[in-house]
Symmetry: C2
Subunit: 414 residues, 2 copies
Amino acid sequence: MIGGWFTTPAGVGPTGGDVAPGSTGAPIEVIVGVFVLLMAAKIGEEVFRRLRQPAVVGELVGGFVVGPSALGLVVPGEAILVFAEIGVVILLFQVGLEVRLDDLLRVGRVAVVTALAAMFLPIVTGVAVGLAMGEEVGAAAFIGLALAATSIGITSRVLAEAGVLDRRFARIVLAAAVVDDILALVAIGVVSAFATGTEIDRAVVLGISAVGIVLLGLAAARRARGLKREVFTWPLFADTPLVPSFLLMLGLALVSAVVGLAALIGAFIAGLIVAETEASDELEHEIRPLGLIFTPFFFALTGTALDLGALVEPSVLVLAVALIVLGVATKALGGYLGARSTGHWAGIAVGAGMVPRGEVGIVVANLGLAAGLLSTEVFGAVLLAVVATTMAAPYLLAWAVPRAVAEEAAARSG
Amino acid sequence: MIGGWFTTPAGVGPTGGDVAPGSTGAPIEVIVGVFVLLMAAKIGEEVFRRLRQPAVVGELVGGFVVGPSALGLVVPGEAILVFAEIGVVILLFQVGLEVRLDDLLRVGRVAVVTALAAMFLPIVTGVAVGLAMGEEVGAAAFIGLALAATSIGITSRVLAEAGVLDRRFARIVLAAAVVDDILALVAIGVVSAFATGTEIDRAVVLGISAVGIVLLGLAAARRARGLKREVFTWPLFADTPLVPSFLLMLGLALVSAVVGLAALIGAFIAGLIVAETEASDELEHEIRPLGLIFTPFFFALTGTALDLGALVEPSVLVLAVALIVLGVATKALGGYLGARSTGHWAGIAVGAGMVPRGEVGIVVANLGLAAGLLSTEVFGAVLLAVVATTMAAPYLLAWAVPRAVAEEAAARSG
């Protein structure tokens, strides 16, 4: 930045710092960070594709390489966090666009059973391990919860890239993820109230709001069936459905976040709603460039969180390995048990799809830390487990999905 | 945000603060700000369109209404600044995509004369006013410079919306803006060196680098003529030209910013380069949704900077009015004198197109403030003048452009 020439003590724009003349006042280093992270994600993807490895793992590795614990070229700040969040919101909106509401409701019962099983097993296991390690009940509950949360982002991407979102097992994963997120919300509320001694009725209120929001969204999707394109294009600013739909997506994502659900649940529901209207195809086309630019930030950001240096600490290493192994095993088994009525390989694919630990795991660990129940090692271990399970999912899915597809085809023709 | 439940002392993500569970750690208020600002821009646009007023002024007003000096719903932070900067970068990239290099070079000489005239007049006037006000030469020079910088963002948008980017006067404005930015860079360097007593040779080096970068870019555009689509789509991650082109755009914008030019100059050149390739049409289509989402942030952000409250201070009011009147008059006259060889109304349209003061004006004012040469009133007045001239431009253009178009049509048929 031109040798500090334009570094003015008064600063330009709310953030101060170096700015280019003629710019909006955005610190130039931040835009460099945005550029480097996107570039790293795409180079990582390219290398992984050429090695016939999952593209999305390449984005994660690209993020790791330029991130704080490796080269240190990019230190994610507010702008990159927002890009990543909007990226995963757009991803789930796109997934919602490809799913028909009726297909989703048809797997509703299996999805609820799957979510319950895939939540119950990790919690019980986590609590048991915690108690066996001599922890108190509260701490053990946090360990269980950290194991229980599912993040659907990477699975959505892998299923979408494989072109199997219309399969029954894919719909089960999606529906179960919604149910899972509601359950996690309530569970976090209960455990948190228990741990900190605050009112438990808040957890109940939040749980009810969350269920209410989701049901309202699904009802809206049903009402949206066959709506004309003009519903989106009546404003003079909207030549096409893009901007109104984008606002709907972001708005529902925020409502979802405010009641305590993941923002991506709201975005998924927004996608379901728009999918039922006549604007669906046009919008699928229009949202694609936005997804191509924003979504890599989500995966690259996850990569930047990976801190291999923490592994030199034996206690963190042991805990991380335990979290990863137990997390993968219990979630996969829970998913399998819940969904195997659909088929053996379908059950395995569902289990594999639910393996990625969410950022919810990090939030839970943070809560436990704040309540003085968990050690700082646990936080480091949870971070490692989140990234590791996210990286494992594409490989597990690459193994299970083709078999599940074949099984479903055989069942149809048989 | 759920009553502080998820507010953990440890914080989640680099920025800490409130985060939604299952989020990337982006503070939820920031995403609310992004949502509110985009919504406000679009509502402002809608109202203005229905009143048959320029859409882009509606976006500015929308930003003003929710900004810190009115409702205070949005306080622009890093994320919004980055959205705005990328927004104007995409806008100029789109403009570059619509312009042919040869057409631009054909108006080269007129553009240089125009840029010189449109820079010389405001500087001389500003210096004269400053000296008449009893200021020292250094301070007077800063006032002149603050009057001299042109921001091409809003003019580009108005010309693009009017569908006249292929007209001769439009190309003169674009080419003159590039020359203008180089001249401003050198002038700021010289005045800054003069004011702070640092080495003047840096200004020369920067000026040469800037010219070099622009010439290199134009040479690259010439070499890019007729390049196959595969130049962009050979990476496995690129099914379409979008992502590689986006990286090229952002990369050149950053190079441009690093040598001290406005980032949008680099983006414009990137657009010129891609425009010459066979990927041009496809890319124009793909970049559109990104422009629709990002670009409103640039104009809405400018609106948030408008502080009508500052006008109660009589000295700021007088200075702002003086800056606005002199800024509009001298720039329009300079543009007219430079371009009138093309036609009477074409000259007026060029003059009108060069009226918006840039954020460069703010940077100059900041430098003067830091050097102890200018008062805080000047800073407030410059901010007002930047927004006011930006708001005036669409009206001036709405008056001049149709007449210039008619004049050009008459000249052709005559």
